[in-house]
């Protein structure tokens, strides 16, 4: 369970990114966070990933106050998350498989187990045939799918994605979102920040709407149209 309780975030430069945002995400739920550029979508995800801390309010993950996690506790919490970025953040000096393998190395799995899981994750996103290729030989959509494979390979409890389809055409965007939906069906909590309203309507998932840092709407899945 992820719970935002009157969470505000003001950056050091004085910019108010979030203002008293309150909502909950149940385990296994898939939620879209939407809004215009600067609405606070990325900040909200950064708070969950412990890249930023709330200025006010309480943000909890399974009852644990993320605002009070000491620095040494951050890595362990991050290992419970999977993250997908708009720009993939793939490491170009190593193969697709080596990129996907990173979270498993961090988790301390054996080489054999890592190889098995990497292949399974790549198969899931349809890229097993590229496992030995460097990422730059892949198309943008394929690179994004590698990023997704890396995010889910360690079986995270929560998957967060910041504009994962920002650089993709509508068909690829839908494919990516369907992959996220399949993780949700497997029990993973999924939060996706996206400003693509057409895509959100097509996916028909709960949608939280932000505007200048304020939560202005929280639309249940069945009311998305």
């Amino acid at each position: 369970m992820i719970r935002f309780d009157q969470v505000s975030k003001r950056y050091a430069d004085g910019r108010q990114a979030l203002s008293e945002v309150s909502f909950e995400v149940a385990p296994g739920e898939m939620v879209f966070i939407t809004g215009h550029s600067g609405a606070g979508k990325s900040t909200l995800l950064k708070l969950i990933a412990l890249v930023e801390r709330p200025s006010r309010g309480v943000l909890t993950l399974d009852g644990k106050n993320l605002g009070k996690v000491p620095p040494r506790g951050i890595p362990a919490l991050r290992r419970r998350l999977g993250m997908v970025f708009q720009d993939h953040r793939l490491l170009l000096d190593r193969s697709v498989a080596a990129n996907v393998e990173l979270p498993l190395v961090i988790a301390g799995l054996t080489l054999a187990e890592r190889q098995r899981r990497v292949r399974a994750a790549l198969e899931l996103v349809g890229l097993l045939q590229y496992e030995k290729q460097p990422p730059q030989r892949l198309s943008t959509g394929e690179q994004q799918r590698v990023g997704i494979a890396r995010a889910i390979v360690a079986r995270p409890e929560v998957l967060i994605a910041d504009e994962p389809t920002g650089n993709l055409d509508p068909q690829l965007s839908t494919e990516i979102m369907q992959i996220f939906a399949s993780f949700q069906q497997a029990g993973t909590t999924v939060l996706v920040a996206s400003h693509d309203l057409t895509l959100l309507k097509r996916m028909k998932k709960r949608t939280v709407v932000l505007d200048h840092g304020h939560l202005v709407d929280d639309v249940p899945a069945e009311q998305v149209a």
Binding site: P71, L102, I106
Partner: protein, 319 residues
């Protein structure tokens, strides 16, 4: 994916096994970065550090041989005690036995007038002059070897105490030469230590700066690792290995340079010794020292990388 929502935890593996796995991965990553991705730059950096390490080693080699040379030239600390010409063999032997009892004396060798004459006759130009003498004018001589480790001041004090003995006519102690030689060797040793310290510091700085540049160039990778839940130690570890590799490589290059230097100097040193009628050979650096240099350099490299890595990669927040 399986239906399990728990994240991947190495719960069936011991912490030690995970630790080993992490170190293995970091070791491999550091080798690939240094030798797989930019081998020329790595070797150049190691060579610069290796030449720097070879400088104090060369000085050490020179000092060691200078010390050996000074001993071979008679500085080996024997004090010549010339007895009065009328002193008998019995008196000489009695005095020698008394001197051997002194704690500051290691040995006393007796040289008879006949032995002295024979040695003097062998010196070119003296033969005819000595043959013209009616009798042997040389006295009994005691060659007194001070105990090993005695400093120049205590040897001078020993010589003074010998001069006042009734049977003694003359004491020949080349104290000035010995003191000068000791002072020179002490100066050289001090210079060596200072140079080694400065170059060790330089090595820390060079490795630290190289690792700092590497960290800057890998900001994206570091951010990905941190966001994936890597601990600061995990992120830092490949850079520590890189620092150790730089040091080890530099140490091996320095040892190789010293081997070449010794080989190049061996023949000229032997020729020089032969011209003085000796058979002294250049003494190389001790095997133990040569084995220690790469290990010590690797430790220095590791420390340099750690100093930078701890400062730059201490936090868990991606930069």
């Amino acid at each position: 994916m399986s239906g399990s929502r728990r994240h991947t935890a190495p719960n069936r593996r011991s912490r030690f096994a995970v630790w080993l796995e992490h170190h293995g991965w970091s070791l491999k990553a550091s080798v690939l970065r240094l030798f797989g991705q930019r081998p020329l730059g790595t070797i150049m950096t190691m060579a610069v550090l290796g030449f720097a390490l070879a400088l104090p080693l060369s000085l050490w080699l020179l000092l060691g041989n200078a010390r050996m040379l000074s001993q071979a030239l008679g500085e080996g600390q024997s004090v010549g005690v010339f007895l009065h010409p009328q002193a008998t063999q019995s008196a000489a032997e009695t005095l020698a036995a008394e001197l051997r009892q002194r704690p500051e004396i290691a040995a006393v060798n007796l040289k008879s007038p006949a032995q002295g004459l024979t040695e003097l006759s062998a010196v070119q130009g003296f033969g005819d002059a000595l043959a013209a003498l009616d009798q042997n004018p040389l006295p009994w001589v005691l060659l007194v070897e001070p105990r090993s480790g005695l400093d120049a001041a205590r040897i001078a004090a020993l010589a003074t105490s010998l001069r006042v003995l009734p049977a003694v006519d003359l004491v020949q102690d080349d104290g000035a030469f010995r003191q000068r030689m000791h002072a020179l060797l002490a100066l050289g040793t001090r210079a060596l230590l200072l140079l080694a310290g400065l170059l060790g510091l330089a090595m820390l700085l060079v490795v630290g700066n190289t690792v700092r540049m590497d960290i800057r160039g890998r900001a994206d990778e570091i951010a990905v690792l941190q966001l994936a839940g890597a601990s600061p130690r995990f992120v830092r570890r490949p850079y520590l290995y890189a620092g150790a590799w730089y040091g080890l490589g530099a140490g091996l290059i320095a040892v190789a340079l010293m081997a070449v230097l010794e080989w190049l100097l061996a023949a000229p040193a032997a020729q020089l010794a032969a011209s003085y009628g000796g058979d002294m050979a250049l003494r190389g650096l001790a095997t133990g020292l040569l084995l220690t240099v790469p290990v010590a350099a690797a430790v220095l490299g590791w420390i340099g990388a750690r100093l930078v890595g701890t400062r730059r990669l201490g936090g868990a927040v991606p930069r």
